[in-house]
């Protein structure tokens, strides 16, 4: 009994073990890897798409998906820079609201008009990208307000602001998901939407919440990214949807819905961050990173599908 318990425990924590193993290997092979600066760099690099991964985790748990997150991030980034003349805070709020608005549109299309989420968010992705290019006239827009840059470039005890925001969001959304009524509803709707409707759960509202939360997080990620770069353009977030979906599935959240945690999504994005960091240290071309990301996505969904099938036969 004990060995099988150990086995399942190991299987449960396989991503964590993978992260641990890779980190040990990298610390031994490169003096640079295990430095404070490099660790914060890894966290900073994943914090933007990591925020979006929180929302994507909610959506995949509730049984939906959002392909438009990259466009929403670009939208948030561009708005936050374009509204700077009216003040830093106005820019930030407009950027976040932009994400929330289209998150809400996604939610309405999926729940009220009952479009499949993959198709609806595909349409919104193309549409919002067009809006972003129209706003910027297909140029890169530059920040004009020095105060805006402080948002992402401030360090607290040497830790960059986006990392702090990211960690806070992780904790908040994990608490919502695991401890609140809303969280339990998300699991219930993702597990079985029809049954939850019979139990009086407003499935549409639960789903709309997840879409709006994702839009909010994508908008916020865009604002933080724009503040870090002090520029924005329609090319931001071009492959964010692939990256974020890969991270969430890599973390061990099943496409089947109904189970998962924010911490798992964090593990997924952290592993991707470490792999990218390793490739930078080893001076491997960024194009190879793209190949590895695609291959990882396929590999992970294949593993996921095999384990779902096994569960069914048990």
């Amino acid at each position: 009994v004990r060995t099988s318990q150990l086995k399942s425990a190991l299987n449960e924590q396989r991503i964590f073990l993978l992260i641990l193993g890779l980190s040990v290997y990298l610390s031994l092979s490169s003096r640079y890897f295990l430095t404070f600066l490099n660790i914060t760099n890894i966290l900073l690099a994943i914090s933007f798409e990591g925020m979006i991964a929180i929302g994507m985790a909610l959506l995949i748990i509730v049984g939906e998906i959002d392909l438009s997150v990259g466009s929403l991030m670009a939208f948030g980034a561009v708005l936050s820079i374009m509204f700077q003349p009216y003040g830093v805070l106005v820019g930030m709020i407009t950027g976040i609201l932009g994400g929330v608005l289209f998150g809400f549109v996604n939610g309405l299309l999926v729940t009220k008009i009952r479009l499949p989420s993959i198709a609806a968010t595909l349409g919104v992705m193309v549409l919002v990208k067009g809006v972003v290019f129209a706003l910027t006239r297909e140029h890169t827009v530059l920040g004009t307000n020095k105060g805006f840059v402080l948002l992402s470039q401030t360090n607290v005890f040497g830790i960059p602001m986006p990392v702090i925001v990211f960690v806070c969001l992780l904790v908040i959304f994990e608490l919502i998901l695991q401890k609140s009524l809303l969280g339990r509803r998300i699991f219930a709707v993702g597990g079985n939407a029809t049954a939850s409707r019979f139990f009086g759960i407003k499935t549409d509202r639960t789903k709309i919440f997840c879409f709006v939360a994702t839009g909010f997080l994508a908008g916020l990620a865009g604002v933080m990214l724009a503040s870090k770069l002090n520029i924005a353009s329609g090319n931001i977030g071009q492959y964010s949807n692939v990256l974020v979906i890969t991270a969430v599935l890599l973390g061990g959240i099943s496409m089947d819905g109904g189970e998962g945690s924010i911490f798992k999504a964090f593990q997924g994005i952290l592993l991707l961050g470490i792999i990218n960091n390793a490739m930078v240290i080893m001076r491997i071309s960024p194009f190879v990173q793209e190949i590895i990301q695609g291959a990882l996505l396929i590999f992970i969904v294949v593993i996921d599908s095999i384990s779902i099938e096994r569960k069914r036969y048990k």
Binding site: G123, V124, A134, S285, G294, L297, I298, V301, V302
Partner: protein
């Protein structure tokens, strides 16, 4: 006489895209003198060949109930393959992308059918892989092939005043139309898209049908690539960026259902023409590219909505 009304209303519903297309042609010709020139129409045909050919393959995949998001980056990669081999040998410049396309299609089909994975997610992975490989091969640079050979005849030549690649498009459309509407395989494609489980019980092999559809999709990409490399004699690792959305938009606007099981090459032709005509008039009126993207997004959502509403009415 009693027959006329239901017939007319069915026809209006079934062929509404054709009517919209004709309506737009008349309106655009009336408001724009530049639009109604022969040169513009030939131009219009020129613009649709690449997307038109890709859309034929995409139609097959969509009717089986899947989607192929990898066509854009497959286009970029196959373009490089074509030009790299064309430098030494024109025949290889045509044969190699075709063979590589078969490999890509088999890979997509295998992943989707063997492991029962959502085709959008799987081909999103392939999209990243192929685009990474394409960028890696040339390190992001544009490459050029040998000019002044017969290789350029497909994309550059004319016959009876019509560009040669328009004939290629017509041939591909005819082949796909016949395969889809006149062969056993075509019927299997529709059955599998309607209900894969039932099709399997009836003795068909959905996995094989879907894999074939994915192979046909990448094969059509290779034909589009040959038209493109023949016309340009260059290839860029980002040449096909966004083609997947153009093809899907065209197929969906034409009236082929994303849910699978229904659709035709004729509908796709209308979808391609409709999209190209709208883009053409927007370009003539100097509307920036970004607004065309907004319009495409709205069109995709509207087309899916119309399709879903029609299906729900059918169920009731």
């Amino acid at each position: 006489m009693t027959q006329t009304k239901p017939f007319l209303s069915t026809m209006l519903r079934e062929q509404s895209q054709v009517l919209i297309f004709i309506f737009l042609l008349i309106v655009f010709s009336a408001i724009s003198p530049e639009f109604r020139t022969v040169g513009n129409f030939i131009n219009l045909l020129k613009q649709i060949t690449v997307i038109g050919v890709i859309s034929c393959g995409m139609t097959m995949v969509i009717i089986t109930g899947c989607l192929d998001l990898s066509v854009g980056s497959a286009f970029s990669l196959l373009g490089l393959v074509s030009i790299i081999f064309q430098r030494n040998n024109n025949v290889l410049g045509i044969a190699m992308p075709v063979m590589a396309a078969v490999v890509i299609g088999l890979f997509n089909g295998f992943i989707v059918t063997r492991y029962k994975i959502n085709s959008i997610i799987a081909t999103l992975g392939t999209l990243s892989i192929l685009s990474g490989i394409a960028l890696l091969i040339t390190n992001g640079a544009i490459i050029s092939g040998r000019t002044g050979t017969w290789f350029g005849i497909i994309g550059g030549g004319r016959f009876l005043g019509v560009p040669n690649h328009v004939y290629v498009l017509i041939a591909i459309m005819a082949i796909f139309h016949i395969v889809l509407s006149r062969t056993t395989f075509g019927r299997k494609v529709k059955y599998v898209g309607t209900n894969a489980t039932a099709a399997e019980i009836a003795g068909m092999r959905p996995a094989r049908v879907r894999t074939s559809a994915f192979v046909m999709s990448s094969l059509s990409v290779s034909v589009a690539v040959i038209i493109y490399t023949s016309r340009m004699t260059t290839a860029s690792p980002i040449a096909g960026l966004g083609y997947e959305f153009d093809a899907i938009t065209a197929v969906v606007i034409g009236g082929t259902s994303l849910a699978g099981g229904k659709g035709s090459i004729f509908k796709t032709i209308i979808g391609v023409l409709l999209l190209a005509t709208i883009v053409n008039i927007l370009t003539l009126f100097n509307v920036p590219f970004s607004y065309q993207s907004i319009m495409k997004g709205v069109l995709i959502i509207t087309a899916i909505y119309v399709d879903i509403r029609a299906r729900r009415q059918g169920e009731n």
